[in-house]
Subunit: 192 residues, 2 copies
């Protein structure tokens, strides 16, 4: 008897233990592993997916925000990002968040894929984009709770800020490394 | 009257709405923003921090795992990683997870910092390490639920796998980009 390698787990049942729509749902699953074992309390967290944008100006500078993020409990540099509205296309959300948070619009977009936040519990997924040829089209109007400081930084300035520990979020430091990577930035992105 | 820029939010009270120790705690906070506004239902999720390791062999190949991850609902490439035991030092956890999941030990370690997973809800934090001079010291014995396939891959092979979308987790694609980045890999890491 053979068994497919890395077969998915089977969810035998799922029970919602906390819900605060549209922000968060926590489920407790009973799952069956490929070897037949059952796990009775595997937790799944579902929060809305989000789009994250690495926005470049025609002169090569990047648009960066400095803001207090309550998840971090501290001030962090971030690139523009925000959750998808229900049913919203990830690229539409990326364009909307860039415009709302910075007032800029981009001439072209590239998509680097969808990445899940938590290996076991899901949490949410990030859609990663780069936006080139950004030009100011309006005043920022994010409607977010945070006061945002908009900065225009060169790549060397961003690398130095990263060295100083000014990026404090996994997805943000990953976005910086990916979008400025000599191989991955070229090979992984596709026109969006 | 002046106000400190990017002042932290004040947590007025916090109420645990779901708890399954040691895996997860969900809290609903009432917070006061710097401008005086109050938010009554700001959710905070706390799961254990984890260590993530980019492990290199003396010949330059990297140790990679292929496994089904239930958070993704799919098979993904990952670097060795795992949650810190209560009170465990992040570097000790990194060494333990590398040994348990792969059987390898490293000659030297570099630390790239602690990064929070979710900008608003926290979720958990990742401690990022690179491990050089890895040599096999034992058979893997992770005790994890997943069946893990151990691969030894060159950097070009990893970049090609990333291009094909075989990395499906935010922290994992970020770790790859960071640890192979010509500037950040050098400037951000410090001896651990």
């Amino acid at each position: 008897m053979t068994r497919r390698r890395h077969a998915p787990w089977t969810v035998l049942d799922s029970r919602e233990v906390f819900s605060a729509p549209p922000y968060i749902s926590v489920q407790t699953q009973r799952v069956r592993l490929p070897d037949g074992r059952q796990v009775h309390d595997f937790h799944r967290i579902v929060m809305p997916d989000y789009a994250l944008v690495f926005p470049e100006l025609p002169d090569g500078r990047l648009i960066v925000l400095r803001q207090y993020k309550h998840g971090v409990g501290d001030v962090s540099l971030t690139f523009p990002a925000g959750t998808l509205d229900p049913g919203e296309d990830p690229l539409a959300a990326a364009k909307r968040e860039l415009k709302e948070e910075t007032g800029y619009e981009a001439a072209s977009w590239r998509y680097y894929g969808r990445y899940v936040t938590h290996a076991n519990a899901f949490s949410n997924a990030a859609h990663l984009y780069t936006a080139a040829g950004c030009r100011k089209a309006a005043e920022p109007d994010s409607g977010d709770l945070e006061e945002m400081e908009l900065l225009l930084m060169t790549r060397p300035e961003l690398f130095e800020a990263a060295r100083r520990g000014e990026f404090k979020l996994t997805s943000q430091i990953g976005m910086l490394a990916l979008a400025t990577h000599p191989v991955l930035a070229e090979t992984m992105g596709r026109e969006a």
